[in-house]
Symmetry: C2
Subunit: 223 residues, 2 copies
């Protein structure tokens, strides 16, 4: 297909496609004339992945490029490519000199060891957990230790087992698998977060326990 | 305690505390002289909550004020106050005129009805789910419908049941409960997201299935 057709199919404007081509984020089409190139399904899929990373994942273009390099590198073991994608998709946390975070980091490492999880020692998620733990402590959360994470770890592991299975259907190419993993990480993070908020609202609306104060908990709603 | 002591205990600088007082985000202390006031544990807890919302939750000050108003309003049913907090903590999504999102919205509403969840009709999480579903479709995700959300909903509900129980210990005041819920939403969202990434990396590193291409999946790591 021509670039105009590629634009129509993907909804990405022609000037944007040309920009991605110049930036070498999108592979060039097959040249059929001095000023014309032919594009195929691989371009459609790649454009959709770029848009997902940029718009759903909110990644800057330089990061999109790094993730795509990992997706495309056939020598990179799959779970290392995954690590690179996760690193790019992880929220940016300020560097922490806080000794409370350093202490929490050690506890998080021990916790992951206990779980028997095989994860990169520099996975940014370790630091996210350490910051979360230090924050809970700082806020005076009762019994703030990694035992609080256990139920979340179990839920995450159950979901991840299905997710990894789902992303490796028989006959999928490595690149297709990586695309699925990247999209799945970004989109289903949003899904899980949204559902957790809804479930909390639901559980809070329907729970029978009343707080100590005499305020009506639930009486004002008409359900 | 004096303002200097309040600053020491919470780690919040005195000028910042004075700013919060001027902005009426923090209640004034008990006046003991023309230019001196006495603060107590309620100020410590409130300051920590403000910092959690602003720093962990990344909320602008005006939003922090809205959430605190909901926390403090004794007439607001608990789960409605929770809805306000969740609305504030939800990621900002651009207004969607996309008919695909509108269609997905209807499906999401039906899905939540089927689950029997009692949630506000204008909960922003509904829109987040609709955008996620439309995105999956747009990216050509196979069988993109709300059935994909079922496992996530089950996991979210299991966690929420514990979370709501945990935030309502016997003897906690309404304000303490709300503080816990808000902190829990922000911090444990980060925890769950981090653990899901780690679990995916772990499951991907240890899964036995090889992709179609002949690339080594796991051989390069020394474990």
């Amino acid at each position: 297909m021509r670039i105009s057709e590629l634009s129509r199919v993907t909804g990405v404007p022609v000037p944007t496609i040309k920009f991605y081509l110049r930036e070498a984020i999108l592979a060039p089409g097959r040249r059929i004339a001095t000023n014309q190139a032919e594009y195929d399904e691989s371009h459609v899929r790649r454009l959709r992945l770029i848009r997902a990373l940029a718009e759903v994942g909110g990644l800057p273009l330089a990061t999109v490029r790094d993730v795509l390099r990992a997706v495309d590198d056939p020598d990179l073991p799959m779970h290392e490519a995954l690590g690179i994608a996760h690193r790019a998709l992880a929220p940016e946390l300020a560097e922490q000199d806080d000794p409370a975070v350093a202490e929490a980091h050690t506890e998080v490492d021990r916790f992951l060891d206990r779980l028997g999880w095989k994860v990169s020692p520099d996975a940014p998620a370790r630091n996210e957990l350490a910051v979360a733990l230090a924050t809970l402590r700082h806020l005076g959360w009762p019994h703030a230790n990694t035992r609080l994470f256990e139920h979340y770890a179990r839920a995450a592991d159950r979901l991840a087992a299905r997710e990894v299975e789902r992303t490796t259907p028989t006959g999928a190419t490595r690149s297709e698998m990586m695309e699925r993993v990247v999209i799945g990480t970004v989109v289903f993070d949003a899904v899980l977060s949204a559902l957790r908020r809804l479930a909390q609202e639901h559980r809070s609306a329907t729970q029978p326990v009343a707080p100590r104060s005499a305020d009506p908990l639930d009486g004002a709603t008409g359900t």
